[in-house]
Amino acid sequence: MTMTAPASAPDRSPLTPPTAAPARRRRRTTTSRTGWAYASPTAALVLSLFVVPIGIVFFMSGSDWSLLGGNQGTNFPENFTQVLAHRQFWPSVRFTLLYTVIATVLLIGLGLGLALIVQVSSRWSGFLRTAFLLPTALGLASASLLFYALYSPQVGPVSRWLEQLGVTEGVVSILGSPAGALWGTVFLVVWRFAGFYMLLLLVGLQNIPGDVYEAAKLDGAKTWQTFRSITLPLLRPSLALSTIMCVTGSLLAFDQFYILTKGGPDSSTMTVVQLIYNLAFESKRDLGMAAALSVITLLALVAINVFQLRAMRGSSES
């Protein structure tokens, strides 16, 4: 019954949620003019503060535009070739993808686990829900500053714990080694966002009708079997939405690395957006190159998201 619901509108992207009311003919009294009138604040904001600046970015990406000197004529396609040839370009792409895979797997996995834990209604799980959601009230920058102190061997406790647990020899700064910097940042991000994904997936869980479980129980299905053959498939739309948000967010990761690692040590945690910032304001001070890398990133993200939507639609139809 509900299992086929996500596939009922193949021409619609999963991001466009199915309407709650079944496909009833919309009354034709709604005029497109009223629609536009309501959409106009959004349109005005998007146009004036997003489309125009993005236009400037595209223009910059074809221009010889230095940070201090401003626009000095066209430089197309050199900006793009220079970015592609930059020694940190491919390492940053590789690292960004690695980070995205790790963060997405952990966040969705943990988010689902937490959602399963808090889905019963009891005072204890109400408390747990609040505890898991509380970190989402912090700004990412504040959270990064907090963890910067937490990880610091001078004031934070974490280095000492790792030493006592025998993970490290002596008091070592967590952000010091490439692996430590990666996992330290991943931990921060999981801490900050797990509650959010828990909430998204909780919504999906709560919409699975109870009688499906009853039926499975009558058939003698084990807990794990129920989870695999009922919960997961019915949760697919929520999982798809979470995954898309998580992948997009992780590919654009910046604040956490900017505050925690600055791309170090040894440029090992240089994400693509960190490289954009670095090209624009630190090393090259070349806004043209930075804009070119932004355009490349934007196109890649659009392609990745189109691919994700296709893949998810395909798998839910099968």
Binding site: T16, T19, A20, A21, R24, S32, R33, T34, G35, Y38, A39, P41, T42, L45, V46, L49, F50, V52, I56, V57, L67, L116, Q119, W124, S125, F127, L128, R129, T130, A131, L134, A137, L138, G139, A141, S142, L145, L146, Q154, V155, W191, L199, L202, V203, Q206, N207, I208, K217, T226, P237, T248, L252, F254, V273, Y277, A280, S294, T297, L298, V302
Partner: protein, 275 residues
């Protein structure tokens, strides 16, 4: 499912595991709060417990109230604009068909896909042209735009989740579509509004990079002052005042969150995020 999980609930390992998780999630917040009043080298609080770090924070440069006022102004603009645009926009996307609807919706969502570090310089140039450079309103507007993808999406599904009958009844009563929106629908989507409002507030209240580039002088908000205060001496981080700053920044967020939590969670539930 209740039977399944409540069976789990009676087991001690369940409580041990979940309590452990709760501690992991709460510990950093508690640690920061405690550390901010504890003695630390290189901070204003060198011996014993006390509020010296908060005193440093309160008297830094233009003073804490000044920065808080700026942060508040930026956040109010961002929240107001987000609510307004997303309510009308969500309604339009949910209930009307008009040319360019899908294109506008997709462009709005694509804001999520742009690395915002790149937009900073174009925005400074463009805001100057618009006469909004170095204004709190300008920063609020920009932060609101970054909230639009999530907010519009959320409000669209919230409106779609409202049964058509409610709206039709209102229209029958002689309301125009605006009357129906104002008198009836807004109440039906209240959880969604609270959710996006809270989101917009949290984002605007905590942001430091956008204000850094778009305002200066007397218009700096608290997060920016905090970043400056962190490094007053070459090569030393004042962890104490940083922690105090994180606490001051976080308290309003946590209070607001706890106050609105029920509605906030409902906002997710009531929307047709249902799959």
């Amino acid at each position: 499912m209740n039977a399944r999980t409540s069976r789990l609930g009676f087991r001690t390992p369940y409580y041990v595991l979940t309590a452990g998780l709760a501690i992991v999630f709460l510990y950093p917040l508690i640690w920061t709060t405690v550390s901010s009043v504890s003695p630390q080298p290189g901070s204003a609080q060198v011996e014993g417990l006390g509020f010296n770090n908060y005193a440093t924070l309160a008297s830094y440069q233009a003073g804490l109230p000044h920065y808080l006022g700026n942060s508040l102004a930026i956040s109010l603009v961002a929240v107001g604009v987000t609510l307004l645009a997303a309510t009308f926009g969500g309604y339009a996307f949910a209930r009307f068909s008009f040319p360019g609807k899908n294109a506008l919706f997709l462009v709005t969502l694509s804001i999520l896909m742009v690395p915002y570090a790149t937009l900073l310089i174009p925005l400074t140039i463009w805001l100057k042209t618009l006469g909004l450079n170095n204004t709190l309103v300008g920063v609020g507007l920009v932060l609101a735009v970054f909230q639009l993808p999530f907010a519009t999406f959320m409000m669209r599904i919230s409106f779609e989740g409202v049964p058509k009958e409610i709206e039709e009844a209102a229209l029958m009563d002689g309301c125009g579509s605006f009357g129906a929106l104002r008198r009836v629908l807004v109440h039906a989507v209240k959880p969604g509004l609270i959710t996006i409002g809270l989101f917009a507030f949290l984002a605007a209240w905590n942001d430091f990079m956008v204000p850094l580039f778009l305002v200066g002088g007397d218009n700096q908000p608290l997060p920016l002052a905090l970043v400056n205060m962190r490094q007053q001496v070459m090569g030393v981080i004042d962890y104490g005042s940083t922690q105090a700053g994180v606490v001051v920044l976080t308290i309003p967020c946590v209070l607001l969150f706890l106050l609105l939590q029920r509605h906030y969670v409902n906002g997710f539930m009531s929307g047709a995020l249902k799959g």
